[in-house]
Structures are given as structure tokens and as C-alpha cells.
Symmetry: C2
Subunit: 277 residues, 2 copies
Amino acid sequence: MNEIRLVSESRCFGGVQRTYEHDSASCACPMRFAVFLPGGADGVPALYWLSGLTCTEENFVVKAGAQRPAAELGIALIVPDTSPRGVDIPGQDEEIDVGSGAGFYVNATRAPWAAHYRMYDYVATELVDVVNANLPVDPGRKSICGHSMGGHGALLVGTRQAEQYRSVSAFSPICAASRSEWGRNALAQYLGDDENAWREYDVSEAIRRQPSAHTLLVDQGGNDPFLDQLRPGDLQAACEASGQPLRYTERPGYDHGYFFVSSFMERHIRYHAEALG
Amino acid sequence: MNEIRLVSESRCFGGVQRTYEHDSASCACPMRFAVFLPGGADGVPALYWLSGLTCTEENFVVKAGAQRPAAELGIALIVPDTSPRGVDIPGQDEEIDVGSGAGFYVNATRAPWAAHYRMYDYVATELVDVVNANLPVDPGRKSICGHSMGGHGALLVGTRQAEQYRSVSAFSPICAASRSEWGRNALAQYLGDDENAWREYDVSEAIRRQPSAHTLLVDQGGNDPFLDQLRPGDLQAACEASGQPLRYTERPGYDHGYFFVSSFMERHIRYHAEALG
């Protein structure tokens, strides 16, 4: 069940960058994920990275420059795709914020999405089991990070299952999916019209209900054109209201893309390395 | 004539990553190039990067991770496209090694290519003039580097016009274009059947004719699937025969792609920084 198939492999910073495919039970289709293993890796801690809208497992590993600090600090990087692929759902390729590349890290309950779009279970449970069963990582040491929709995913998984992650960080996260236009479109399709169901997958709501002991690390570009979708103020208010520790930094002039993410990647890797020991 | 138009701009590592377009006289079409300027740049040295087959001005700036060390060391990065674009030449998009994305840094003399494919003059003269006229670089301090076909271009321009460049380096260069299948296909189309004309654009031949005072820095992946196209042994033999200083390192296990390039990018940037002062 947990068998993985090697798709590609390249030496990188003294370690190895790989792409794997496996048959996902959660998503009922083959799923791909990328892995960076530092040189001489055995029992290394793992940092999971969740990507944003339109991304596959490839964008981060090509653009973020994370392998260099990960190699130096001896951390594996695990990078899933952002949605099921190659399934047969009408309209799956028509909207930027629903369907392919836009799984939003939720378990869909509404047809036709519910048959495949179970990305919460996929990244929070199944992928972790697959990685632990097949790769030389220490199952007891993992952290999670992400960007935009993936920042939402990382904060969501990392606070809802807080005891399983040593540290949690995000770049430009969608902080309140149930109040973001992107999120509302996606959640209505995946979960139906009952907005109470949406709140389960809203990061700011989750933190208000149940803060974690982590100090969340969040960087946000000050010149990000999507601030109305991201709503960082909602996250700050939720953390303040619930006592959730938060290190939030606005980076003046930076936008939403990987030129921003790569600029502060080493900071996040070092933050996680400290928590991962 | 030297006017440039800003296409995109993103803050990056405290500096700025931009794409410009301008009307190229050499190529008789609009050409794009990417620029990284470190923060507070004024009179900074410039490192020119020439990319490989199929690349545009974008691949390097997204994948190589060069901005971080360039920002630290105060070096501008100048990254041209690899061929004319949007011109009307039959067959220009049919072969990987001729036409779009495959300018080979030569001045074509044969119709229909000669009307646009003058990439040697473009990168060695026109682009330099455009950059010096518009950007806060020090015209007296520049170096050149490249990958694969762009490694060929960097070694070619850097040794043929050696006095204009402080330092010259390459990743996995095509070392003898006139003996490489890719190069022979391209040179025949661009220059015609007389192989004497090809030798002018063959790096190893150029070094045999006229070595430079530079110590060329070359890194080559040991697991590169294109070694028969690249012919690093021809470069080593030419350098030995002519007394051209060469620091050639084979990197065991690395392949031809940007996971390799990014792994040793900082080494090349530091090598150039030392020469650029």
C-alpha cells in the first residue's frame, strides 16, 4: 500500500532531489511528491512544504533555494502536489481556485469532489505514513511550512494536529479561507453551502478555537497584490485573542512570488532546524 | 536606440529582480533580458550569464539561486535570452538545437538566419552598451559565465574578447561546438557548409589559437547524460596545448540540470567577485 515509485532523481547540494509517485488511498489516484534528502541522510528530521494555487510538487524545489540550507542543517524536505491529478471531474481545470492545483488542503464532502479531493487527510496522515515507511527520516521529528494556499494548509494542519509538528511557519498564507474570495469559492464547491463546515478549515477560526504552543513564524510581502485574499490581519487578531504565539513580519516592497519566498527561505529553515533539534 | 522598457519587477534578497525589453539592432527584433541589482546598487560590477538550449532569460533567475550570493557580494546579474523571438523564420521552432532558444552565440551569415540570429554581437557588444547606458553598473568591471550552450558562449566571448572581462566561468559547457552534434547542426544552418567558418565559434579552437590570461573556472557533472555533446576533454586538451589556465572540476554524481548548477553557483559567484574587486 505504501509502495513508492521513483520518477526522477538529481544530485543536489551533496544530497539528492527526487520525485516519487504512489497510489494514494485518500485521493484515489496516483499522487506525486518531491523529496530532498541531505547527504548521508539517516534518521534526519523532515520539513513538509505545502505549495500554493497552480503549483505542483515541482515549483518549490526548483524556485525556493531551500536545498542549500536544508543540506547544511541536515533536514529532509517533503513537497506534495497541491491536488489530485488525472482524475475525471467536470470543471476541474476551469478555475484557478477550485480543482487541479487548488485542493486547499480540505477533505471534500460534496460530489463530485469528495471522491478524490481529500488533501487534508493526504498531507496530514497518508503522506506522512508513506514517507516514514520509505525514506530515512526520523518519524518523531517533523515540521511544516507553506506558501499562500499552502501557508493556509501548513497553519491549519500544524495547529489542528499541533502535537505532531515541532514547528509551523508560512509565507503569505491565506489566513481566513472562509472570508477569502478564493477560499469561499473552493470551500463552497468542496463542502457545500453550510458555512459552518467551512470554519473547520479556516486558519484564523481554528486558532481562535484551539491555539497551539508553537510560535508561528509568518513572513508577508508588503507589496503583495493579494492582501485582500490573504487577510493577515485576521490571523494577527485570532492569535491575539486566543494567546497563540506569532512572529509576524511584514517585508516592505516584496510581492507574492518565489523571489520573495526565496529571500526569506533560509530564515524559515533555520527556525525549523532549531525546533527539530 | 538604447532605450529599455520594464516588463516586470520583484524585490529579491534586498535588491530587485527585473525583466526588460528593448529593440535590438543586432537581432532586428525586441529582445528581453533579466537583471538582478543588489540593494543600494550604484556602480556595481556586472556578471553576465548566458543560458543553455531551450532557455529564456527566465530560467536562470528562477532556478539558479544566484541572487543570494550576488546580493551579499554586491554584484549585478545580467541574463539575456538565448535567441531572437517572434521573428518569422521557417523552421525556427522545430529543432531543439537550431532557432528559438538555440542562438548558439554566433553571428549567422546564411539566410534566412542572418537577418536576426546575431547573438554574438548581441551579447558581446549591444547588450553591454544597453546595460551600461541604463543601469547603475560600473562599465569597467564585468565578468561572464554560462551553462551548456551558454557555457560555450561564455568561454567564447570571454576568451575572444578577453581584455573586456575580469573573469570567465562555465557549467557543463559545450566545449567544441564544431565537433558536437548539437553544434554541428546549428553551425551548418547558421554559417553554411564551410567548416572553417565554424571553427571561429568553437571554444577549444579559439583557446588553441589565442589563450587568455584568465584562469577559466569550469564545473562539470560526472553523471551528465550529454558528455558526448559537451566534450570536456577537448577543452582540457586545448588549454593544456595553449597554456590557457583552467580550473576544471568534475562533480561526481551530478547531472546536467539546474540542481547541479545551483549546487555550485555560490562558488562561481565568489570566484567572479574576487576578480571583480
